[in-house]
Subunit: 229 residues, 4 copies
């Protein structure tokens, strides 16, 4: 596709990373082949090896960078929020949704290609993932201790929330009907108050009576997983 002629040096490496993210997201790591990746970048398959170690190594690098960025973004968000349980929780959830809207392909890959990592490579990625989850669990427990949250089981609640919020990756498309802020707001409400809506606050007006006000239909794989962009 996009032939980047004259691409030299460091540009090629970046082009490979970007094309790889696109292709892995679209087809899955196992189904992506290096011929295709090279063609996207505009070089010969063998030339990839000036920039990557192996196909497996490429996946690992992509996932590592992604997890580091995610952790950094999360820490920054928490640092910027008031130091009290509910504010911290809201900050965590909001940044999670935002990050997932902005980098949904990387997110998708990080979620679904863990099984494609060799055990030695999976280990550090899993460690970072646990660090992220444990942060949320800690916030939920703090909120519960403060009497501001009702969580029967913090771990289950954390997993459920993350699954819900991560779900936006499966249908969001930039430039769609809803802007990021609105999507973030609605998910915060759902996370905190559920659909029954005994919410805590600034709830958006209920527009459901007027029809489902559809976002684009999920073309492919709604929840969990599937699709791409």
């Amino acid at each position: 596709m996009a032939r980047i002629t004259g691409s030299n040096g460091g540009r090629t490496a970046e082009a490979i990373r970007r094309a790889a993210i696109r292709l892995i997201h679209r087809q899955g790591f196992a189904a992506m082949n290096l011929r295709e990746l090279a063609a996207e970048v505009g070089i010969q398959p063998g030339s990839l090896y000036n920039h990557i170690e192996t196909k497996q190594g490429l996946l690992f690098e992509l996932m590592r960078e992604h997890m580091q960025d995610l952790l950094s973004a999360m820490e920054a968000a928490l640092a910027a929020a008031p130091d009290e349980p509910m504010a911290q929780l809201r900050a965590f959830l909001a940044q999670h949704v935002l990050y997932h809207l902005e980098r949904k392909q990387e997110v998708y890959i990080a979620n679904f290609e863990l099984r494609a990592l060799e055990p030695a490579n999976a280990e550090p990625i899993l460690a970072m993932r646990r660090e992220y989850e444990d942060r949320l669990i800690g916030l939920l427990e703090a909120g519960a201790r403060a009497g501001e949250l009702q969580v029967a089981d913090a771990r289950i609640a954390a997993y459920a929330l993350l699954a819900m919020l991560t779900g936006v990756c499966t249908w969001y498309r930039p430039g769609g009907r809803l802007g990021p802020e609105e999507i973030v707001a609605q998910h915060l409400e759902l996370a905190l108050s559920g659909v029954s809506g005994a919410g805590l606050g600034q709830r958006a007006p209920d527009i459901s009576a007027g029809g489902s006000a559809p976002i684009e239909r999920m073309r492919s794989i709604p929840a969990g997983g599937r699709t791409p962009g």
Copy 2:
């Protein structure tokens, strides 16, 4: 692994389906190869073709059967519940979680291997999936019209709920600390009332103060993509 030697006749076909579900779930469709599948069943690769049409055809069959079962289960659950919005919604959500607990491998495959289907095969599967989603959207809208739900956007809410509830596939293991009923109950609460817990009803006692009461940590691949990052 489990070599079923001497498996003859009709049993072979069933053994193939089961092994395929296991392998696709574990490795993904593209990464599964028919050598491996045949070995699991205890036959030679060529012999698979007495029972399947192609690798692609096998995937399609598995997904079609799964979607039919899911739709049947959902219809049966709704038929068995009182015909009023909240009861119907609870019935839908509860059966969804239950079904996902019981058949998490098929669910996973159905969610994440859609991209592996050839377009002609994807179409009927997508149609069934839409039928399922639309049922939930309808219930949410009915609840909103009846004034019992607060949903800003029924479609977004439906996707978010499905993502959350489908997430159980990624960590649930039969025989774990929590039984299916409890998991269903907690997720119903989260879906209806969120973590802030301004719930509507039979809420389980808050045990979070006593620590996170952990389920087993997701050991491998949270799968489906759960959260992560």
Copy 3:
């Protein structure tokens, strides 16, 4: 080259072995490629893998079979000879030359492709090779103890003799001027009595005065190759 059409089953495996011996002998293991090998056999490259495990595995099998045959032939020769030092020594040397005339390609491979074996594969081959050498060393020592041989160092002498006798592989071609028996006889003389010819016995008449009576010139690999197995 020689396309063996309709070659099925067991015949293919044998054809592969033979072609591999020919090609490895001609080009070396590293320089032989499986495309070429497959073409010689008349099948597709991938089809080789119905009969071999890997390229490396093929080499190992060839060498193992060769060494086993060599050891068997040696033991048989010794068993058939009178049980006294010089007769045993003569039997060993004669069978060595004969075996090397008849299977010079395998011998060559066994000598020169040891370095191409992975360490784990080299080990058992080396063990067999030592067994063979030690037999000769033992015979030389026995002859010396009996006062029938003059060897300053049995190991050095053994290596030197094996190198000399193995050398026939480098120039011998069936159907040449000299028959196997004559070649064996001359080498026995050289081994036992050297060129100065203070021999022990049935020495062939000296024909060197009449010109060098050339065998074919060594086309490829002259001396170099020392001993075999």
Copy 4:
């Protein structure tokens, strides 16, 4: 291994030659790759081409230099010896063994990588090799004519002697139990008188009765081929 960083100028060319000899000897020409060679020298693969023409050209150069040196050494040895058949023969054989002890890697390459030379490059090398062999054949014939040698066939005898004496390359290691002079002496005896020891002269005392007085066992690939140094 030995990275010679900052190797500049003319030194690089020499470093390449030395590293190439080491690598070709260890692995064979086909199995050696230029990446590895460059790494040994401490430069990038592309930089090799400032010093060599091609991989093939490098091999040819190494072999040509070696053969020229060998021929020179032989001529010098003959010139320094008394001009009578047996003295000339002894001089030839002694210098052959000595040269092979001192430059066994080059010798090995010259013997076994002839097949890796393109025909056009092989031709001049083969011519030099024939020149060397013919010298020995001439000496054997002269000795026979003088009645001092018993050779049934001078060419066969020459090949057998060269094979035997060249064999030292396969097990000799500098600093081992036996010094070069002793190795030369023993091989002269074996060449002239064989193991039966009806020798002509200054024979070393027979020490074989006291056990085999072993040199180090050939650790790796004794013979023919394999190993390096």
